[in-house]
């Protein structure tokens, strides 16, 4: 139960690296570009270059490499599955057979394809993780809000979305604490939360979830009242104390990312 408390949100790793200091908008846009590029890379050379670039950014960000690799743990099953599927079905018809497993045929082409797709997935996960490792959730919310702001004219509720995200982030630790308290209270009444099959355990969640929801609704009401009392009336006419500013390093970073992307694509073209 104490594990709940030691959870950090979004896996943000605070460091004083040049990557951390970049404007969040730069990082969001860069990550988006990189995601597109990783799918456009056609062969191992392009992907290899991409990998080198990403490794460089990881080193620059001072986030420990072990951390990054551990971030792959949640998706290891997906990676394995992809590899296996490609090995057996990815080679197309008439490939060089490596071995047979009953009706399943493993081909060399499939293996190559499998490794390629898996590598691409890994780079995908690492690139997006880099964003959350180097940017705090608050910065992310701010960055998203500013980027989406011009789209308000076409009906995108940028301010409301950002407000929702900030409030959610603010209350996550509080809700985790409350869940713990409720669990303890029900356990003190003899509730058994860790035994039984899946159906039993699901039913055992009711005494936890109902009070949690009731309290969450109550919080929402009280918070809304408090916000109104402090003059909140939506995003119109609102200013912000924290200003996001593009600086020299953002331009440099932007140029570097664009150049690297072009290089990867050009290499993959031939």
């Amino acid at each position: 139960m104490e594990l709940l408390r030691s959870l950090t949100i979004g896996q943000y790793v605070p460091r004083a690296s040049p990557v951390h200091r970049l404007d969040p908008r730069t990082k969001i846009l860069a990550t988006t570009l990189l995601l597109v590029v990783v799918f456009l890379a056609r062969d191992f050379r392009g992907l290899g270059l991409f990998g080198v670039f990403v490794a460089g950014v990881v080193a620059l960000s001072q986030v420990p490499a072990g951390f990054v690799l551990r971030g792959l743990r949640p998706v290891w099953f997906l990676l394995l599955l992809t590899l296996v599927l490609q090995v057996f079905f990815g080679g197309g018809s008439g490939g060089t057979v490596l071995w047979k497993l009953g009706p399943l045929v493993a081909t060399r082409e499939g293996l190559v394809q499998g490794l390629f797709v898996t590598a691409r997935l890994v780079l995908l996960v690492v690139s997006t993780s880099l964003l959350t490792y180097t940017t705090s959730p608050v910065e992310l919310a701010d960055g998203m809000e500013r980027l989406l702001a011009p789209f308000r004219r076409v009906g995108v509720p940028a301010h409301e979305l950002a407000m929702m995200m900030t409030i959610a982030l603010r209350f996550i630790p509080t809700l985790v604490e409350e869940t713990e308290k409720i669990m303890k209270a029900q356990m003190a009444r003899g509730a058994n939360l860790d035994t039984g099959g899946p159906l039993r355990r699901a039913r055992a969640l009711v005494p936890i979830l109902v009070p949690l929801f009731v309290s969450a609704f109550r919080r929402a009401e009280e918070l809304a009242l408090a916000m109104e009392a402090r003059g909140y009336r939506g995003g119109e006419g609102r200013t912000r104390m924290k200003q996001l500013r593009y600086r020299g390093q953002d331009t440099v970073a932007g140029v570097v990312v664009v150049l690297a992307s072009l290089l990867v694509l050009w290499v993959g073209r031939t």
């Binding site: 104490e2 408390r5 030691s6 409350e178 308290k181 409720i182 303890k184 209270a185 029900q186 356990m187 003190a188 009444r189 003899g190 509730a191 058994n192 009711v206 005494p207 109902v210 009070p211 009731v214 309290s215």
Partner: protein, 290 residues
């Protein structure tokens, strides 16, 4: 219930590590009413969660009724039946569709048959002053805050515990509500002969209800004494940020000014008697006013 050398460290080995209890030795006698006080962060909540096996000691052990408490073992269920723990703002744990079902949650978890469960629910609601017929079928969320709290207390009483541990049972209640709850606790202690452990910030409440006081400070037992002795040590208590009942405070000041009053009087009534006794020890007083 006995605690021997109890140590508890939260989140050991992480950057958030904190020592909550540093070697607590404590014995709770059957049938007594024990007050547990201390500044915030002194470890009171942590301590009582060891009594019913919700927390595992980092070091040391807890023994209830001769049996060591081992969280994670099936024997823990037995301890949770014997030691009823009521957290702060217990009304936040209510979840069932009817008051009856919520109070029945405990007994049902014990695996009792429906007649027994119904019997216990009726009895427990009676103990907290809620008519089972009127309140049983209602939704707990339709009740007032004070009523919800009483339902929560009934829910713990329905387990028929031998020990009742209450963490700030009067938190957030108005004076009338506080008097009511404390009155019921006193009844439960006297009539049902429950052992009671009361965590409270109110020295006045502790003085009124408890026979013995244990003061915790920074995870250690600072003072463990019968209630009158404990509150006589005003200076020691004030040195850690606590206070004495206000009536006792007045007596202490009078004593310091030279009046020979006894300072182990804790409640308003007792203090009043004592002051009157000493003042009349002269011969009554001039009725024309001071």
């Amino acid at each position: 219930m006995v605690c021997e050398g109890l140590v508890h460290v939260y989140l050991r080995g992480t950057p958030f590590e904190s020592v909550a209890l540093r070697g607590v030795d404590l014995a709770v006698r059957r049938g007594e009413c024990l007050g547990l006080v201390g500044p915030t962060g002194s470890g009171k909540s942590t301590l009582v969660q060891h009594f019913n096996g919700l927390l595992r000691p980092t070091e040391g052990r807890v023994v209830v009724d001769g049996v060591e408490v081992r969280p994670g073992s099936p024997a823990v269920r037995d301890v949770r039946r014997k030691v009823g723990l009521l957290f702060q703002y217990p009304e936040h744990q209510l979840f069932e569709a009817t008051v009856f079902d919520d109070v029945a949650f405990g007994p049902r978890n014990l695996g009792l048959d429906p007649e027994e469960v119904a019997e216990r629910v009726r009895e427990s609601l009676g103990w907290v002053g809620l008519d089972p017929d009127r309140f049983g079928p209602r939704s707990p969320f339709s009740l007032s805050g004070g009523e919800m709290r009483r339902v929560a207390i009934a829910g713990v009483l329905a387990m028929r515990p031998q020990v009742l541990v209450l963490d700030e049972p009067t938190a957030g209640l108005d004076p009338a509500g506080r008097r009511e709850i404390l009155g019921r606790i006193r009844e439960l202690h006297r009539k049902a002969r429950l052992t009671v452990v009361l965590i409270s910030h109110s020295m006045d409440d502790v003085a009124r209800l408890c026979q013995r006081v244990v003061v915790l400070h920074q995870g250690r037992v600072f003072l463990d004494a019968p209630v009158r002795e404990a509150f006589a040590q005003a200076d020691r208590l004030r040195s850690i940020g606590l206070d004495v009942p206000r009536a006792t405070d007045v007596l202490l000041r009078l004593r310091a000014a030279g009046l020979p009053v006894r300072c182990d009087r804790l409640t308003v009534e007792e203090a009043c008697e004592e002051i009157v006794r000493v003042l009349q020890g002269g011969q009554g007083w001039s009725s024309s006013g001071a």
